[in-house]
């Protein structure tokens, strides 16, 4: 028993019509013999059979069109014995059976105007689920369904480099006037917006209120981006500062006023050293992947008295002595407040430390500066009842917090990081 099927006469042939049968049941056929004329979109062809035997049954009528591979006739080969019953014909291609739906889902479909007959169920045994209906009910093609990047966004014409820098430096492009080709905002426009050199007159003097407003907008844009893009997680721990405070007091006692250190320096240094143990806190997120940084450039959040905050970097904090760090910090805060920062300081912090506690709060839950992935907050140093070695005492303490990017690390590593800061602070002489 063999099957004679609708042959494929070319890759572009999907179906054929039997124009004419050249054989009838009972006819003897030989391999290679022409048995039918088939019409395709391209031509009319005589088709051959690759079986030898007797035609048992013709399954497709003349004029009927069927897909390639459809059985057209059964052939009883000479060696075959009894003719076995023909297999049942393929199910007719009519309307599909109604889908299986629970009453709850049926009501939901009625309410949302979804036609159940056109749904294919994703549930067990093809059952239409609530989710199927909700998906079908969701309007397609409106703006809500489109990804954010596909929505037109008004804004000044700007070069790709300018956009990238603006995002990194927290500059609001819409506040800038472009000086590039076709009036586009280019790199220099962005750099000028963050860098006011004392020895250079900015091209277009900006009124202080405008600058403040621009900075507020810029911070807003950057922080909005951060909260939109970065899945933050937050950890907090309290660190006993008895040891560093005592060390600091002893050290400063021996020093002239101009050489004294402040606690912030110890906190910065401890943070910078701690990333060596947990490198996924230090670096940049770009294009969906994290690149950890060899260098540790700590951004120091400096609040400006006129409002706003900026977080320029002190470079290679892990390699500076405490005195160098103190000098650097003093210099940086001074320049931040007077608006004379270098672009590199603005563009390349690898992690940020905020010290809001100086102004009284105990705990800081900061927002990460993109494309960085972590921000460490230190609260106010307060004296607290603190148990140690079974003894209750009054100790100077600080609450250290971590805001970190869940795409890069998780709470376990974050906790390790805070513990490492704590450990380092307990041996201030080694910082």
């Amino acid at each position: 028993m063999g099957d004679f099927t609708m042959p494929s006469l070319g890759a572009d042939m999907e179906a054929g019509t039997i124009a004419q049968w050249l054989v009838k049941p009972g006819d003897e056929v030989h391999r290679g013999g022409i048995v039918a004329v088939v019409e395709t979109e391209k031509s009319t062809m005589e088709v051959e059979i690759f079986e030898s035997g007797v035609i048992d049954e013709l399954l497709v009528h003349e004029g009927e069109s069927v897909p390639v591979g459809t059985v057209l006739a059964h052939v009883t080969t000479r060696t075959a014995e009894a003719v076995t019953a023909a297999p049942p014909p393929p199910p007719p291609s009519g309307p599909l059976p109604p889908p299986v739906v629970s009453p709850v889902v049926r009501r939901l479909a009625e309410r949302s105007g979804v036609d159940l007959a056109v749904l294919s169920g994703s549930g067990l045994g093809g059952t239409v689920t609530r989710a199927d209906v909700e998906r079908a009910a969701q309007p397609t093609g409106d703006e809500g369904a489109r990804p954010e990047w596909a929505l037109g966004r008004a804004g000044p014409r700007s070069s790709p480099l300018a956009r990238r820098l603006a995002a990194e430096l927290g500059v609001d492009l819409s506040a800038l006037r472009g000086s590039g080709p076709h009036g586009s905002v280019v790199e220099r426009d962005v750099r000028l917006a963050v860098e006011v050199r004392p020895d250079e007159t900015p091209p277009a003097p900006v009124a202080p209120e405008d600058r403040q407003a621009a900075m507020r907008r810029a911070i807003g844009a950057l922080m909005a981006r951060s909260k939109r893009e970065i899945p933050h997680y937050y950890l907090s721990t309290t660190i006993d500062l008895t040891a560093p405070a005592a060390w600091l007091e002893q050290t400063n006692l021996e020093r002239p006023i101009t050489g004294r250190l402040i606690m912030s320096v110890l906190l910065l240094k401890a943070t910078a050293l701690a990333v060596k143990a947990v490198p996924e806190m230090n670096g940049f997120m770009g294009g969906g992947t994290f690149a950890s940084s060899e260098a540790v450039h700590v951004g120091v959040a400096v609040s400006l008295r006129t409002g706003g905050v900026i977080a320029p970097a002190i470079h290679n904090v892990d390699q500076l002595t405490l005195d160098e760090l103190m000098t650097g910090l003093k210099d940086l805060v001074g320049r931040a407040r007077t608006g004379v920062l270098r672009t590199s300081e603005m563009s390349d912090p690898t992690i940020t430390v905020t010290n809001l506690g100086e102004l009284g709060v105990e705990t800081v839950f900061g927002v990460i500066y993109p494309p960085q992935v972590a921000l460490v907050g230190f609260g106010r140093v307060t004296e607290r009842a603190w148990a140690r070695d079974g003894m209750l005492g009054v100790h100077p303490c600080v609450t250290a917090t971590l805001s970190a990017d869940h795409r890069v690390s998780d709470g376990h590593r974050g906790g390790r990081f805070l513990a490492e800061i704590d450990r380092l602070l307990q041996e201030p002489g080694k910082l």
Partner: protein
């Protein structure tokens, strides 16, 4: 026996020497049957979608490939066209490697990158499988030029159809080969149709050997349905070419029994014409002659059919068990790989 051969041009009349020794006659018959049965199976596999692309069958023309290639030595080179299954098998490419290639498998003779139209084999100096009509002729001239420059006594046999004669490359190559006196045997398989266009509808001069002769290339018209006639003409021509006689041209008058390719309704030929040519099918023609001279018995024929059938079955099984090249290797061989087994030679 070779009465259908007519000489033109300056070459010597091919010797009509005895070629009907028992083993040799049976060998030629078996070679033609291998090609016939292989291609019949190809048609079947094509209609089941196991072979795709264009499939051009040689059925009816087997005597040309078998008769010429049988006279070549292993050092000689073969350049063929897209209707080259017969030439590949006659040249010694295994049926397994050919069938695997048609099914797009990595075990195929071109690793599945060529398909039906591009069978290649360095071991037997089989240079394709060229699907640009006329495009293989300049390459054959170049292969021969290299042999000439390196002092090798080697012949390059170049097959092409009557359609190629209308291409500029035919005329350029004929001229260059004659001008430089290069050892090329040009074998024109004239099956009377360039796809669907009859010879007299595409050529102002339908005597093709005359065209070659006009380049001072010795040329013969040969009965391409008679494998012994083809072999005789080819042997004589190959000997002359190898001896430094410059290029030669054989016009092998033949006919394809099937359409140009699988999806060709064959509207341009008269059924009666096809039937008439089928009376001169090269396989029965030789079989009858061998039987008449007592060389072939019915038992022999049955045995040969059995062997050939088994070889085809084995080739199909091999192809179907074959594997596909990893798509990661898609870009392999666009350029040569840093470490090669050796240069083609």
């Amino acid at each position: 026996m070779t009465g259908a051969t007519a000489a033109r041009g300056g070459g010597a009349e091919p010797a009509g020497g005895p070629t009907g020794e028992k083993d040799h006659g049976i060998h030629l018959l078996q070679q033609m049957l291998r090609i016939r049965r292989f291609e019949e199976r190809c048609a079947e596999l094509y209609s089941h979608s196991l072979i795709r692309g264009f499939l051009h069958l040689d059925i009816g023309e087997e005597a040309c490939a078998v008769g010429v290639i049988d006279t070549l030595s292993p050092d000689d080179a073969v350049v063929a066209t897209y209707r080259e299954h017969g030439h590949a098998l006659a040249r010694g490419i295994s049926m397994r490697a050919a069938m695997a290639e048609l099914e797009g498998k990595v075990e195929g003779c071109s690793r599945g990158r060529g398909g039906s139209m591009h069978l290649f084999d360095a071991a037997t100096r089989f240079y394709g499988g060229n699907a640009i009509v006329g495009g293989g002729l300049p390459i054959a001239v170049g292969l021969a030029l290299a042999d000439h420059l390196q002092g090798r006594r080697v012949v390059t046999a170049c097959f092409f159809g009557d359609g190629a004669v209308a291409e500029g490359e035919f005329h350029e190559s004929m001229n260059l080969a004659a001008l430089w006196h290069l050892p090329v045997l040009f074998c024109c398989e004239n099956n009377l149709y360039a796809m669907g266009t009859a010879l007299d509808r595409s050529e102002s001069e339908t005597d093709l050997s005359l065209k070659a002769a006009s380049y001072r290339v010795p040329s013969w018209e040969v009965d391409g349905m008679d494998v012994l006639a083809v072999e005789d003409a080819a042997r004589s021509a190959v000997e002359t070419v190898r001896a430094g006689g410059g290029p030669h041209f054989l016009e092998l008058r033949t006919y394809r029994f099937r359409a140009h390719s699988m999806y060709d309704p064959d509207r341009y030929r008269d059924k009666a014409e096809i039937e008439q040519w089928k009376q001169r099918d090269p396989i029965p023609l030789l079989a009858e002659r061998l039987t008449a001279s007592g060389v072939l018995t019915d038992g022999d024929l049955e045995r040969i059919e059995g062997e050939v059938g088994a070889e085809v079955d084995d080739a199909v099984a091999f192809a179907e068990a074959g594997t596909y090249e990893a798509t990661e290797d898609l870009e392999r061989f666009v350029t040569s790989e840093p470490v090669r087994a050796g240069e083609a030679s």
